[in-house]
Each structure stands twice: as structure tokens, then as C-alpha cells.
């Protein structure tokens, strides 16, 4: 079995070959699916837990605090301890709640983020499914999450939850437009919806640089809209601790609450990795067209670390937003989308089309 950290496609194809030789195609595909499922599941758990830890530390440092520092060195095992606590907590059944939908909601939220994870290129060859409509698929699947939030709010039979869910619905329906249009701007530049092609097209420079002004505007709009898409501060009206106790997940306890919590952080990870893939070149190292020596030095860092690094930068920016800005009111939220982001985005698409037509991009 060949293992090359710079190109994992040989590794994955050798696994495929071994399986194909030893069993029938049906079982080979089944085993591969199970393996990918386990890999994504463990990745999900680890990333989710450590994003919670990272968020608490970042938040603490921004507020002149220390953050978790008791469980393990620098509080490194704090979130694991929290998870164990949540696993052992009682799941409180809610009287008059719609039992079936109430139990279904957290799974819909978490499955939506799972499905999105499958289409994201983590490194060269480390890519579960390479759809030819990859970015469209990710957009479509992440929007399913809002159904889970709406169901959670509705089935809880609680006014706070319902208000939170309705706000979340209004918010996601509007911000989906901005996310989609800012990604369309990049699709115009790359000429493809397939994520692997998009990454490959950034070999000589990330789209953020090759697309210059329109790509930069699209990136900023995407950052704002994606923060709103994930229901994070300053757009966390769906939870709004001070007004709605906890919004749509008020009535959830124990591990079901943890599912919502994990899904929120995973959604943040997913939008950050989409931002990294579409604007910052995904796993592609920092290349400048023509600088051979520089490009070769950059190639020494394995693609997976490039991907993780870029995603971490975007995640940090989103955390920075959350711990700096005050929460918006619902009318301000919709004003921002419909009066500012959407017109800017539409003008930006025209500019981008023009740039691509005239060949003004690099």
C-alpha cells in the first residue's frame, strides 16, 4: 500500500484495488462506504469538539480572560469532559411535544452537515464524492439543516422555541441568496461547479487574488452571509440567549442538545472550508504564477495542512466576528441582507462577468 502525503489518490486507489481483488464489487463498494463513513464520523467528532474548545479559548482571550484551563494542560480535555457529561445526562421528555418530530429534528440538523462533509475536498485524493455539481450540492444539502431547526422549534411546543425557529427560517431564506450569489461569482470565474476542478484551477494563484476586486467583494459578502447562515453571532437571533433563553433548542437536553451544538460548529467548519476551497484555493499551496522556486518551497507543506490552515483562518475570522459585534435586531438583519448584501452581490456578478469576458483576471 503506497502512502504519499502529497498525493493521497494513490493511497485511496490502492485500498480500492485491494478490495476489488478480494471481494465482489458490491461488497467492495459497501466496505468503502463504511470506511468513509467511519472516517467522516470520527473527523466530525474530533473537529466538533476542538472547535468548541477553540471558540472558548478565542472568546476568553478577546475578553481578557483565560478560558478553560483546568482539565488537562491548558484545558485541552475540557470539551471531552463536557461531552461525557452530556452523554450521561437525562433526556427529558416534553409533555405535549410532538415526540416523533422532536426526536427527529437533531438528526436532520446533524445529517445535513454530514452530507455536506462528503463533498468537500480535504486534500489531493482525499475526497469522498467528487460530484460535477459539487458546490451546488453542498449549498443544497446545508440548507436542509434549517428544516431541522424549524422542526425543533415547532415540535417543542414552546413559544420561545417557535419564535427562534421562525427567525432562523427568515434569516436562512434571505441569507441563502447572498451565499449562493457570492459563490456564483466564483463559479463564473472558474467556469465549473466541480470542486476538484475549482481547486485545480487555482494552481497558479488563488481566486481571491486572480479575481482581484470582484472576488474580494464576493469573499467579504460570503463571510458575512455564511456567518448568518450558520446562525452564529452577531446573527444568532435564532438562539438569542438574552431574549429567547436558547431559542429553538430550549427544550432539548443531554445528547440531543449536544447534537445541535456540534452541528452548529460543524456548519461553521463547512462554510469555512467552502470559503477556503472557493476563494483561498482549498488544499492548493500558495502559488504565484511564474515563481518556480517559491512554488516548490510551498509544495513542501502537505496539501491537507494547507486545507486545515486556510479553514482555521476563516473560522478564526468568524469567531472574531462573533466576539466583537453586538447582535442585530431582526429588522436590521433583513435590511442588511435585502438592502445591502443582495444589491452589492448582483452588481458584483455583473462586474465579475465583465472581468471574465474581457479577460482582466490573472
Amino acid at each position: 500500500m503506497k502512502f504519499n502525503i502529497y498525493d493521497l489518490s494513490s493511497f485511496t486507489s490502492s485500498i480500492n484495488q485491494t478490495l476489488m481483488e478480494n471481494c465482489s464489487p458490491f461488497w467492495a463498494v459497501t466496505i468503502e462506504m463504511v470506511l468513509v463513513g467511519i472516517a467522516i464520523l470520527s473527523f466530525y467528532a474530533i473537529v466538533g469538539l476542538y472547535l468548541v474548545y477553540a471558540e472558548r479559548k478565542v472568546c476568553a482571550f478577546m475578553q481578557c480572560r483565560v478560558g478553560p484551563n483546568r482539565v488537562g494542560p491548558y484545558g485541552f480535555f475540557q470539551t471531552i469532559a463536557d461531552l461525557i457529561k452530556l452523554l450521561m445526562k437525562e433526556l427529558i421528555p416534553i409533555k405535549n411535544a410532538d415526540k416523533f418530530l422532536f426526536n427527529l429534528a437533531p438528526f436532520i440538523v446533524i445529517i445535513a452537515s454530514f452530507m455536506a462533509l462528503a463533498a468537500i475536498p480535504f486534500a489531493k485524493g482525499l475526497h469522498a464524492i467528487d460530484f460535477n455539481i459539487g458546490i451546488f450540492y453542498v449549498m443544497a444539502v446545508t440548507s436542509i439543516g434549517v428544516i431541522g431547526i424549524l422542526l425543533a422549534g415547532w415540535s417543542s411546543n414552546n413559544k420561545y422555541s417557535l419564535i427562534g425557529a421562525m427567525r432562523s427560517g427568515a434569516q436562512i431564506v434571505s441569507y441563502e441568496l447572498s451565499v449562493g450569489l457570492s459563490l456564483v461569482t466564483i463559479v463564473i470565474l472558474s467556469g465549473s461547479l466541480q470542486l476538484s476542478t475549482i481547486v485545480e484551477a487555482q494552481r497558479d494563484g488563488w481566486f481571491l487574488f486572480t479575481g482581484h476586486i470582484p472576488a474580494l467583494i464576493a469573499f467579504l459578502v460570503f463571510l458575512v452571509a455564511a456567518t448568518a447562515e450558520t446562525n452564529r453571532g452577531p446573527f444568532d437571533l435564532a438562539e438569542a440567549e438574552s431574549e429567547l433563553t436558547a431559542g429553538f433548542h430550549t427544550e432539548y437536553s443531554g445528547i440531543k442538545f449536544a447534537f445541535f451544538f456540534l452541528a452548529e460548529y460543524m456548519n461553521m467548519f463547512i462554510v469555512a472550508s467552502i470559503a477556503a476551497t472557493m476563494f483561498l484555493g482549498g488544499w492548493m499551496p500558495l502559488h504565484v504564477g511564474g515563481w518556480e522556486a517559491f512554488n516548490n518551497i510551498m509544495d513542501f507543506v502537505p496539501p491537507f495542512f494547507w486545507y486545515i490552515g486556510k479553514t482555521a483562518v476563516v473560522i478564526f475570522i468568524m469567531m472574531w466576528f462573533k466576539w466583537t459585534f453586538p447582535r442585530l435586531r431582526i429588522d436590521q438583519l433583513l435590511t442588511l441582507e435585502w438592502k445591502y448584501l443582495l444589491p452589492i452581490n448582483l452588481v458584483n456578478i455583473i462586474i465579475m462577468s465583465f472581468v471574465v469576458l474581457m479577460g482582466w483576471h490573472f
Binding site: V58, F61, M62, Q63, C64, R65, V66, N69, W320, F321, W323, T324, F325, Y340, I344
Partner: protein, 160 residues
């Protein structure tokens, strides 16, 4: 035309204001020296409580085991929740006069709200607030303290 200029002005003004806010939090993020958290068990040796911190009522005694308490009972009367009990006894002075002295100044730490009224009203400044704070005990009875030390007597300077 003017409305478009105002629109753009508004956008850039907003972005500038938001970046300014992010600058503040970003500054704190990269300057861990600004952290104000006291990490308690580690800094126990150097930890100094602020001046107005009220930990517990104590009765200071000097080197001759003498205090200033005249057993007047004003602190007991002023205590809003009965945390102080004064038990006094009558003693004969060498001149043959009868005199009230303190037998036990009982202080229930568990009931105290640290309102400072006893210290404020004490006419002879016999009791003060100490800045200790590690009051946890395994038995509630240990929270009842006798403030005057055994065998102590009224300081010579304070004549009744």
C-alpha cells in the same frame, strides 16, 4: 446620484466602524498580558484582596493578650441577622467595684452577611473585618467562632 453616494458612504463608514471594533478585540487577542483573571490556587501566596473586601469579623488582640471589647453589646444589637452573641460576666475590680467584662463574643460566620454594621457601630473599635476568604469547613458547627481569646482581658488604656 446623491442617494447612491450616501449609500456607498454608509457602507464604507460601517465597515470602518466594524473594523475598529475588531481592532480592539484583535489587540486583546494577541496581548495575553492584558488578561485580568486571577488564577486562584496558583497565586495563593501572592494573592492580595482589595481594600474593601470583607471576609470575617475578628477581634484583634495585642501582645499582652488584651483586646478593646467592653462587652457593651452594641454590635449584637446592630447585627441584622443575629450573627453575634455577647455573653458577659460581672467581675470585681481591685477597688471593689463591680464591672461587666466579656466572657464570650460569639460570632456565627455562617449567618453573617458581611454588612459591616457591627464594625461601624463599635464604640471602642474592638472588632474589625479580616480579609481572609477560605472559610470552607466540613462541619457547620465550626463556623461558630469565639472571637475573644481565652484568658484575654480588656486593654489598660480603655477605662470604662
Amino acid at each position: 446620484m446623491r442617494s447612491i453616494i450616501n449609500y456607498l458612504k454608509e457602507i464604507f463608514g460601517t465597515v470602518r466602524a466594524l473594523l475598529k471594533g475588531m481592532g480592539v478585540t484583535g489587540y486583546y487577542f494577541v496581548h495575553p498580558r492584558e488578561i485580568v483573571t486571577q488564577q486562584y490556587p496558583e497565586n495563593r501566596a501572592t494573592l492580595k484582596m482589595f481594600d474593601r473586601f470583607k471576609g470575617e469579623v475578628v477581634m484583634p488582640h495585642d501582645e499582652n493578650n488584651e483586646h478593646h471589647c467592653t462587652a457593651c453589646g452594641i454590635c449584637e444589637m446592630n447585627c441584622p441577622n443575629g450573627s453575634i452573641e455577647i455573653i458577659s460576666k460581672i467581675q470585681l475590680t481591685p477597688e471593689g467595684k463591680k464591672k461587666k467584662v466579656i466572657a464570650k463574643h460569639i460570632y456565627h460566620l455562617g449567618m453573617c452577611t458581611f454588612c459591616n454594621l457591627c464594625i461601624k457601630t463599635c464604640p471602642s473599635n474592638a472588632i474589625i473585618m479580616e480579609q481572609t476568604f477560605e472559610h470552607a469547613v466540613f462541619n457547620r458547627a465550626k463556623l461558630t467562632k469565639v472571637l475573644n481569646q481565652p484568658g484575654s482581658k480588656l486593654s489598660k488604656g480603655d477605662k470604662k
